[in-house]
């Protein structure tokens, strides 16, 4: 009897389960449709070891591409000229020796890949898919939990920031915040403004991978490539890719950046001649991707081909980069690390250091949103502002001095001997800067005396220990002005570069205030002399630009390279007897204009070239 009762219970369960199962099946979306299941269920598992098949573009992806092999790459003029200027000797610079690959290039690189899922330990929902490439230890995290992308002022990395969704039988990944890197490692650049859309599809033990790169700076059309991976049955091992830089070329001056002069690439025809490819095709461009281009390989004239290798006689292009400042009348806060925060929104970037003592603020912004800046700092620090450091005298960094100072206090001097000289000592924050900053601001009657730094220094280095942190201010002579400093938070390993670094425009140099091209490059090299990357030339020391997104060494190097290369071009024209107007019309910045150029506003390409020209003319040795 007991046996029969157990059987009844078992059968009841069986029937219930069958009914439930059939009912569930009846509710499923149309087979293959992209219904709700597709959005919520990780339908495809990519976990395992994979190896990229190099049967397509194998030479390029393996041993490396040849110079001036750009065919089929939809580069615009800037991309082509950037690549033609690229001298592979640049890799001997210690700041480029360990450069990693950007995500879309990393995926196509030679070597093995390991993929694993990260799941929430409590709910077992998919949090992220990790894609780890052996080459340069490219570790991508593809967030699957619906989190938003960071703001535009957040750092850029080789791998960028990726989010994924399952769409049908594909994993679709969207990536932003990439560093400038290779489209192809023969100089073809991919800018830091590029975004990447990818599709991963499994066909059994095979992955078909499709990447779509949109780069408004260097591409005329999206660059689309497809790659195949095959599954490895066992761990292929050898996952690390160590790299430390060293001295490869002894005696090279730190401001020398190898590049080919415009129109004088020494190997322009080498690839073309070797492989029987017409130069006009080898020089690439969107049209070379399509069938219509095939006849031009035979019909294009020599002159037509060579014209493609120099700047066209057209007006200068303008920047296609996104300004990381939302310009929405609000102050935006980004944690940096170790009690440091970036405040974006009031002109120049502001850095706030918090801790047990009063806040130390580097730069005060333009002063249009000081009340909101003060409110933002109060949200970060229990203590009021105690110190304000200015990296130079320009309005974008000192406009908020008076307001910020008034909102702060400096208890370190209250009741001290300084009170005998000034009874109000300590009633407001103290402003620190190089003495030339104070001198320039004092001489400007439009500036309130309250805004002028009172705690000044005249030597190379000013040091301070505050909030448990070692802080150094280094004077960088004759850079933007004659009073620039960089501020290094040594424990946090963050350098505030002020005007010396700007991801939004060409270097601003104020000749009338003592700035110079040489001093600017020296200033950038002074930053690089203090940076240490974490791996593959990224991470480690962070650098806060005066305007733009939070950087590290790599962005500073690219910015330094750009200025040094343009300097060399202008210098060569000056040596050939060119006038300012001739320099301005020669389009010597054509490969950088889509990233930094402007034809209107407060700092145009024309103004920049005028400053470079005049600065170099001033510095020219007298005979």
């Amino acid at each position: 009897m007991r046996k029969t009762a157990n059987m009844h219970r078992w059968l009841t369960f069986l029937v219930g389960a069958l009914v439930a199962s059939l009912a569930l099946q009846a509710q499923m979306p149309f087979p293959g449709g992209n219904g709700p299941r597709a959005a919520t269920t990780p339908a495809i598992d990519f976990s395992g070891w994979w190896t990229a098949n190099l049967q397509e573009d194998g030479e390029e992806r393996g041993a490396g591409p040849e110079l001036v092999d750009y065919g089929g790459v939809p580069i615009n003029e800037a991309g082509r000229l950037w690549a033609l200027s690229y001298d592979p000797s640049r890799l001997t610079s210690r700041y480029h020796q360990c450069d990693g690959y950007v995500a879309p290039y990393s995926v196509r690189a030679i070597g093995n890949t390991r993929v694993w899922e990260e799941r929430d330990s409590k709910t077992q929902t998919l949090v992220a898919i990790h894609w780890y490439s052996q080459t340069f230890e490219g570790h991508r995290v593809i967030w699957m939990d619906g989190r938003p992308h960071p703001p535009a002022y957040a750092p850029h990395t080789w791998m960028g920031f990726s989010t994924g969704t399952f769409v049908g039988n594909a994993l679709r990944v969207q990536t932003t915040h990439l560093k400038q890197g290779w489209l192809r490692r023969n100089g073809l650049p991919e800018s830091d403004q590029a975004t990447l859309t990818e599709f991963f599809v499994r066909h059994g033990d095979h992955i078909t991978y499709t990447s779509v790169i949109n780069d408004p700076v260097f591409l005329a059309e999206p660059m689309i490539r497809t790659t195949d991976f095959y599954r490895q049955p066992a761990d292929p091992g050898s996952w690390l890719f160590p790299c430390d830089d060293g001295e490869q070329v002894m005696g090279r001056a730190p401001d020398q950046v190898p590049s080919y002069p415009t129109g004088r690439h020494p190997f322009l025809d080498e690839y073309s001649n070797k492989h029987g490819v017409a130069l006009i095709g080898a020089l690439g461009g969107a049209d070379t991707m399509y069938a219509e281009f095939e006849p031009r390989l035979k019909s294009a004239s020599e002159v037509e081909a060579r014209t493609k290798a120099v700047p066209a006689n057209v007006p200068a292009a303008t920047s296609r980069a996104v300004d990381p400042d939302p310009h929405d009348g609000e102050i935006h806060v980004l944690p940096i690390r170790a009690g440091l925060f970036l405040l974006v929104g009031d002109g120049g970037n502001i850095v706030v250091q918090t801790g047990d003592e009063g806040a130390l603020v580097v730069n005060a912004g333009e002063g249009k949103l000081t009340a909101k800046v003060v409110a933002a700092i109060r949200g970060l620090s229990k203590k009021p502002v105690q110190f304000i450091a200015n990296t130079n005298s320009r309005d974008a960094y000192t406009g908020g001095n008076a307001g910020l100072k008034k909102a702060g206090v400096d208890p370190s001097v209250v009741g001290t001997f300084l009170s005998m000289q000034d009874p109000g000592a300590g009633a407001s924050a103290a402003i620190i800067a190089h003495e030339n900053v104070a001198a320039r601001m004092s001489s400007n009657k439009a500036i309130s005396p309250e805004a002028v730094p009172i705690d000044t220094f005249s030597v190379e280095r000013r040091r301070k220990f505050h909030n448990g942190e070692t802080i150094e201010l280094f004077h960088t002579p004759h850079a933007v002005t004659d009073g620039d400093s960089i501020v290094h938070f040594r424990r946090a390993d963050v350098i505030v570069a002020g005007d010396l670094m700007d991801t939004t425009r060409y270097p601003y140099i104020d000749l009338a205030s003592g700035g110079s091209v040489k001093g600017f490059i020296d200033g950038l090299n002074a930053i690089l002399a203090r940076t240490v990357y974490e791996h593959s030339g990224e991470g480690g020391t962070l650098v806060v630009p005066g305007h733009g997104y939070l950087c590290d060494e790599h962005e500073v190097v690219e910015y330094r390279d750009m200025l040094a290369i343009i300097r060399d071009r202008v210098q060569a024209l000056i040596a050939a007897g060119a006038s300012l107007q001739q320099v301005q019309t020669a389009r010597v910045t054509a490969d950088y204009d889509t990233r930094y150029g402007a034809n209107s506003g407060s700092w145009t390409t024309e103004q920049f070239l005028e400053v470079v020209y005049n600065s170099l003319k001033q510095a020219a040795p007298r005979r």
Binding site: V212, D228, H275, G276, M289
Partner: protein
């Protein structure tokens, strides 16, 4: 007692198998690949030559076959290739067969001939492929061979007492082609033989900017001329119309 349980079980199962109450008993439906398609591949598609450009946009120098894993026999044939001889022997379309047509610069025009028959025309070489979801189509020994087509869907998770393996979301179009006339994998004569097997997966993606992208991933096996499987993948961007569609004859140059 047990007999009653089993009877009840069968009644419930039969009821679900017949569909919801009140529904008309369904008649067996003829296969309809078009209706079952996870995506519609029809339309005009333009090839973007962004990989192996040197070998695809033109006929590269003799022997410059990129990463095609030719065996010694394959290399020998490739190095001996003579375009004039191909033209003279009537084999001017050797690079436009199933093994080479997708890598040609040009456009595809894909249409549904009926609910189970897909036609792929290419303007390069004026070639036509017929892909049938019901029975193999094509002719043994011609350039495009005989193809069988299926929708290849990922398997979903098996849960509870669900019988069989449910189908996951999305899917690819899988085409397996055999018995093609020997031809070239590249315009400059990397060969494939009569026993080569071509397995193609077609996938459709929507990319930023609103464009549709057709990606075809191909595996070629050929014991005669290849040392191992040859994988390549190509992509085509969808066009709104026939702009640029330019049928032209094969050329061995």
């Amino acid at each position: 007692m047990l007999g009653r349980w089993f009877t009840g079980l069968m009644v419930v199962a039969t009821a679900f198998a017949q569909g919801p109450p009140g529904a008309t008993p369904s008649k067996p439906q003829p296969p309809n690949a078009r209706r079952a398609a996870p995506f519609d591949p029809s339309g005009y598609w333009v090839a973007q030559i962004t990989e192996d450009w040197r070998q695809r946009i033109q006929s590269a120098k003799k022997g410059d076959v990129g990463g095609i894993p030719l065996n010694a026999n394959g290399r020998r044939v490739a190095n001996a290739r003579d375009p004039e001889r191909d033209a003279a022997s009537g084999d001017v379309c050797k690079a436009y067969g199933v093994g080479g047509i997708l890598r040609m610069p040009g456009r595809l025009h894909i249409t549904w001939e009926d609910d189970n028959l897909l036609k792929i025309e290419s303007d390069a070489g004026t070639q036509t492929r017929l892909l049938s979801f019901t029975s193999p189509r094509g002719q043994a020994g011609d350039w495009q061979g005989i193809s069988t087509v299926t929708w290849d869907r990922p398997r979903g998770a098996i849960s509870g007492f669900m019988l069989g393996s449910p189908v996951g979301a999305g899917g690819s179009m899988k085409v397996v082609t055999t018995q093609a006339k020997p031809g070239y994998l590249s315009r400059n004569g990397a060969p494939y033989g009569a026993s080569a097997i071509f397995t193609e997966y077609y996938d459709l993606f929507q990319i930023p900017g609103g464009d549709a992208l057709l990606v075809v991933s191909v595996e070629v096996t050929d014991p005669e001329f290849l040392s191992g499987p040859y994988w390549y993948s190509v992509h085509f961007k969808k066009q709104a119309d026939a702009t640029g569609w330019a049928p032209r004859p094969c050329t061995s140059k």
